[in-house]
Symmetry: none
Subunit: 217 residues, 4 copies
Amino acid sequence: MAVSRTFEQLDPKKKKRILSAAITEFATEGYAGASMNVLVEKLGIAKGSIFSYFQDKHGLFMFVFEQALEQVKRYLRRVRDETTSDDLFTRLEKTLLAGVSFIRAHPYIFRIYLRVLFEGDLPNRNTLIGSIRQHSIGYLTEFVEVAKQRGEIRPDIDSTVAAFVIEAVLDRFLQGYCLEHLDTGMGLFGAGGDELERWASGVIAVLRDGLGGQSQR
Amino acid sequence: MAVSRTFEQLDPKKKKRILSAAITEFATEGYAGASMNVLVEKLGIAKGSIFSYFQDKHGLFMFVFEQALEQVKRYLRRVRDETTSDDLFTRLEKTLLAGVSFIRAHPYIFRIYLRVLFEGDLPNRNTLIGSIRQHSIGYLTEFVEVAKQRGEIRPDIDSTVAAFVIEAVLDRFLQGYCLEHLDTGMGLFGAGGDELERWASGVIAVLRDGLGGQSQR
Amino acid sequence: MAVSRTFEQLDPKKKKRILSAAITEFATEGYAGASMNVLVEKLGIAKGSIFSYFQDKHGLFMFVFEQALEQVKRYLRRVRDETTSDDLFTRLEKTLLAGVSFIRAHPYIFRIYLRVLFEGDLPNRNTLIGSIRQHSIGYLTEFVEVAKQRGEIRPDIDSTVAAFVIEAVLDRFLQGYCLEHLDTGMGLFGAGGDELERWASGVIAVLRDGLGGQSQR
Amino acid sequence: MAVSRTFEQLDPKKKKRILSAAITEFATEGYAGASMNVLVEKLGIAKGSIFSYFQDKHGLFMFVFEQALEQVKRYLRRVRDETTSDDLFTRLEKTLLAGVSFIRAHPYIFRIYLRVLFEGDLPNRNTLIGSIRQHSIGYLTEFVEVAKQRGEIRPDIDSTVAAFVIEAVLDRFLQGYCLEHLDTGMGLFGAGGDELERWASGVIAVLRDGLGGQSQR
DNA sequence: TATGAATGAGACTTCATTCAT
DNA sequence: AATGAATGAAGTCTCATTCAT
């Protein structure tokens, strides 16, 4: 296992402090760039301690990743449960805004996710990507199928294609937000709140109605 | 400047060999993970030489990035010029397929781009991201505006939003393709060609017509 | 002393378990290579316990060594007592075969002995070697002197030289057996039993009669 | 390969200094106990340098071992060539004394050999032991066969047994000398020269004539 | 008495970079 | 202009040992 009992039996406050510092380190430096030395120094613990908590650097990363994924899952589950009576496009809009507020609250967790997607030298990478994709596709497929039954989307559209496009737009929206918000402070989406909501609703509207003029149908 | 005159005066074949090896190294290992030692060993040149060509590791990366971006630009420019008579959605579809064939031909260049997006420890990262975004947004904005004049898209749609959604879908499509094709060999998009084209046209259709049922209009 | 009273008051089974695990660890890894961490993990006891039983790593080794030597002594004493009525060369042959069966029964104890001989970084090494040599020389000197009184060996031979040569051949025979048997599975001496006995009797015959031709006497 | 060209092209004096320091370190501390840190500090070179000369710790050891073996071979070859006209037992006696003087001149090389024999955690150990045994058995087998043709040893003696006993006595004699001379300063063999030669000739005499009285034949 | 978390020195190894040739 | 030996800081990880509980 990646985590030792030593770690599990630690004072919860200390556990949280370590997890949080590790998330930050991996998120800002990447897997290869992250330094166990720096981490323990920041935490003010002995070098040996971190290796008694986790088997090695990779074990620590796995733990960090699992915790991060778990938090995202909890968040999405809540959004899903709170929007069962909404129509598809309202749900998507709410998911989008919830995603933004999640990133605001946990700025580094989303970066961990992005790291996993794009760092080639990460051990076990394919497995991790599998975990992510499986969950997000599952989440959206459920939405699409419910919507089809309710007649909210055109029946001639392939469910997989629909889920893909939705995921693309949502994910890319959050990527864009994350990049701007965390690095540049502000950008396309504006710093405030109004701007953001208008963006979200605009994007969802395109998903619903498309870009094409009426002439085509 | 990042590149010394010494390098520029090199035999073009040698220059190309160095560039290509550097692209591969950065793409597969990331900025932090890439090793100048390994690079010169692969190239069979002296360790001192690479530092006489480029100021330091970062200088080499900047050069690599600029060259990669230039290649992408050339490619896009050609697609743009070859599709001026097509309507927006045909152009987008052709752009998408051209993107896939570019990734196939230059597997590591797209990875460099992804690295830049998601590696936090990269110096000058914001500038680089700016370069990319500016160009891709510019490219698509041109498409959208031409299309608006021709009445190919609904006039009530904000151009910026349109460009964003288009970029999201295109970029995410290519990310997906890149990840699957390079790592797992095959996946969502299938290994062959037919599958891919059906996916592309399905995705573009959603961009044109949206997901929503007929009731809306 | 090297061993604490705490240890001596332990349940005999537990004591034996600890001794046995320690022998194995030192024998397979050497003094420097042996790890207290690994040892306590194998034993399933607390890290602090082993240090309450023995002053430190060296104390544990001293205890292990003493116990091992004691076992060897007991074994040899028995062989000596069971062969009092045999002539010298029969006694030596029986000692040799007894040595082989001892190594078979306690594969790691002989390795401990070899370690002591050849590991330079072992503290107190000279004392330990003294213990070993003193005993084995004593054992053989007794044999030689009894044999001299009985007229089984030539009177012109120096007792010390005789004891040395005997020890050399016996010891080297067992070293060879140990190395082959434990590492390569089989070798010079063959895997089975017959082969071994023929070897032993051949070697002893040379000790008795020498290699030289009949012209010599 | 274990040795880099960087090392081979070094100033011969520096090469010798490094080899010598490495031999000493491995001989006195064993493979596991030897420290690359300590070695470079003793040598006054940078830590990185030693790793540019040899792939890693094991590579350095392999080099050291090969060099040591080569020196031993050269020495034995010379003894063999200088004693072709002597009878077997004279040759053995000269070999023995030559061995002692080799150990005196290169105190640590013999210890390297002993290390290889008895350190279990050494990588590639079996191969190394093979190299040693093959050579020493080959050397002695040649002696024995020449002696048989000349009628210097009894024809009823198995050649393999003869070679084994000879090797046992010679090797053990040198082990004993090495241990005493290097650790305790003096011991069984005496510190001076006379003592030693009397020992050698006594031991060889036993090999030739055996221990047994005349009654037996 | 037993526990096991904490420690920090030290292990091997790779790194980007410099500079005399 | 090109070389490649030298550097030493920093990397991950293991070690024997201590001490509060």
